[in-house]
């Protein structure tokens, strides 16, 4: 925490052309891209890049929300289950709406509206229990993780909830169409990232998150409404989950208990790779975006080559995650030494 505080104050003094902390994950991403291209030139084809970016949108959007939660010293383990639950409820609601009001764009809009309400509501519950209930965020979200996961299994009767095909035809473009040759999920991702960046770096809310994550007591004495700000981070997280779900559902038109498994860990990994500290106090939305891209790129590259045994995929991913974070830690140390000189 003190390191990050020193970082902040030291920033204007050192006049590097590039910010080393941002460069860490970026360098890792570039290295990965070069590696991907050298293993298989198809990596940089337009189709593959579009696939890669679209895929990273889900984890990316959720991870932007997670950046705020983690920066404020919290954690949300429920996002993957929450995504599955919200997706399942959306499908049930839309299928139900078809019976009542027929198939139209309104059915889809109704589903998306419900998704937003559910996401925000679920986020609020996490936030409320953490702040007012005074239960550790780890425990609250561990609990809600189990609840959402079993609810979606229950509603699907252990199988899969599928969106009626008529509604799917209307909803499909949300995932599969492009605007200016960039897929729509990527636009949503870009929008969320920009808003997230502004919130984190240019508003009082972002500063409060960092202050609370650094030292909650000091923040409280500084007249920051700690509980309110922390609750907001979870609401924001819920909103992000809901947005990710809205673009996820049209992809396969289904939700099951296998939906969103381990997304929480991927989101947390993206946040950490991006340079946000797990213990809170310092958040980087831009880094999170790169972190999400790195995670997706690893999986993509592994699928584009047959050099590595299938059984070792997890090991390769693990190594790259650790290396990406190490690169960045190395850079964190450099200015510290400089400050001591």
């Amino acid at each position: 925490m003190s390191v990050s505080a020193r970082e902040e104050t030291a920033k204007p003094v050192r006049n590097f052309g590039i910010d080393l902390k941002t460069a860490g994950p970026l360098v890792a991403l570039i290295v990965l891209c070069v590696l991907g291209y050298s293993l298989n030139p198809a990596f940089l084809s337009e189709g593959n890049l579009a696939n890669l970016l679209t895929r990273s949108a889900f984890i990316g959007i959720i991870a932007v929300g997670a950046t705020f939660v983690i920066t404020a010293g919290g954690i949300d383990l429920s996002v993957g289950s929450m995504a599955a639950f919200v997706a399942g409820m959306m499908i049930i609601i839309m299928n139900g709406a078809i019976d009542v009001m027929g198939v139209s764009v309104w059915t889809v809009i109704l589903g998306c509206g419900c998704s937003l309400i559910l996401g925000i509501g679920a986020g609020f519950i996490n936030g409320f229990l953490t702040t007012k209930g005074k239960i550790e965020a780890f425990i609250v979200t561990l609990g809600t993780m189990g609840i959402y996961r079993s609810l979606v299994t229950y509603f699907a009767d252990g199988g899969t909830l599928s969106l009626a095909s008529a509604a799917r035809d209307i909803y499909r473009p949300v995932y599969y169409d492009s605007f200016l040759r960039i897929p729509i999920p990527v636009w949503v991702f870009i929008g969320v990232a920009i808003i997230g960046w502004i919130l984190m770096n240019r508003t009082a809310f972002g500063r409060y998150c960092m202050a609370i994550g650094s030292n909650e007591h000091v923040a409280r004495y500084s007249a920051i409404k700690v509980d309110r700000v922390k609750t907001w981070t979870y609401v924001l997280q819920g909103l992000c989950v809901s947005l990710a779900t809205i673009i996820y559902v049209p992809r396969l038109g289904s939700a099951s208990s296998a939906t969103g498994v381990l997304w929480e860990l991927e989101a947390i990994a993206a946040v950490i790779i991006g340079g946000t500290m797990l213990k809170g106090g310092f958040g980087r939305v831009g880094g999170t975006v790169i972190g999400a891209l790195i995670l997706t790129a690893i999986g993509n590259i592994l699928n584009l080559t047959d050099i590595i045994s299938n059984y070792l995929n997890g090991a390769v991913q693990g190594v790259i995650i650790v290396v990406a974070v190490y690169l960045q830690r190395g850079n964190l140390r450099a200015p510290k030494r400089k400050a001591q000189e």
């Binding site: 298989n40 198809a42 084809s45 189709g47 593959n48 696939n51 895929r55 299994t153 699907a156 009767d157 252990g158 199988g159 899969t160 599928s162 599969y176 992809r251 396969l252 289904s254 099951s256 208990s257 296998a258 939906t259 999986g299 993509n300 592994l302 699928n303 584009l304 047959d306 299938n310 059984y311 995929n313």
Partner: protein, 315 residues
Amino acid sequence: MKLKTLLAGLVVSTAMIGAAAAQDKIKIGVSIPAATHGFMGGLNWHAQEAEKRLEAQHENIDIIIVTANGPSDQASDLEDLVSVHQIDALVVLPFESEPLTDPVKQVKQTGAFITVVDRGLSEPGIEDIYVAGNNTEMGRVSAEYMKSRLKEGDNIVILRGIPTVLDTERFDAFMAEIEGSGINVLDNKFANWNRDDGFEVMQDFLSRFPDIDGVWAQDDDITLGVVEAIKQAGREKEMFVVGGAGMKEIIKGVMEGDELVPVDVLYPPAQIATAMDVTVANYTSNAPVRGRYILGAPLITPENAEEFYFPDSPF
């Protein structure tokens, strides 16, 4: 404290009443994995259907179904079935072979009749009946169909399940059958019996290989993801997909003559019902039932798809 005593008393008395009432009934415990993915969802459904049917048919049969979230969970379930329910017979689909072998042996020592389903135990001779789908046959039948549709020099890609013995059996049998046919297997990747992974892995295969003639997706959940990826790339005219298991959506497609997924290979979630049937038969018929019941892995085609279609099942 009071509540605790009350609860404890309640549990004990219910157990005693239950035990007294069911004294003359044959108790059959069914221990299966929880419905955490499509296939297990289907298996759970078939288990419940079989319970209703068998209990309605036979007055003296009482079936208790318990579901577990992992191997250790299942071991506890087995202990409960013995101590609380005092079962006469056990139908078990072990989560994993190794860790469940001893717990099942413990049940056996109480004198219970044992039926093992699908995944075997690591020691022979424990079970009285073994009922299973046929992974090897499933791989072989899929490869046979590939050979019937493709010629020398054609290319296929393979999407596998989760790295387990089950998956390896299917894969090895497939590769053995395809060998020497001149069909090229471009690559194989794990898609974890999951739609999302199937979609992503297939997207990557499609950007990597310009010429694919066939896809062995091995599982129907993966197949659904694969189909979306192929449609997105607009290449549905170039290839066909062979899945497996017997998911109702896929079978419906086969019935309706889908060209992209023309057939399916059966690996029935209803095998649990078969196991329960033969276990009950041990008590209700005078025919010998001990032995191994290996279900076939027939090719499901538009002609016979009707037989394998369960519209009410969640899978």
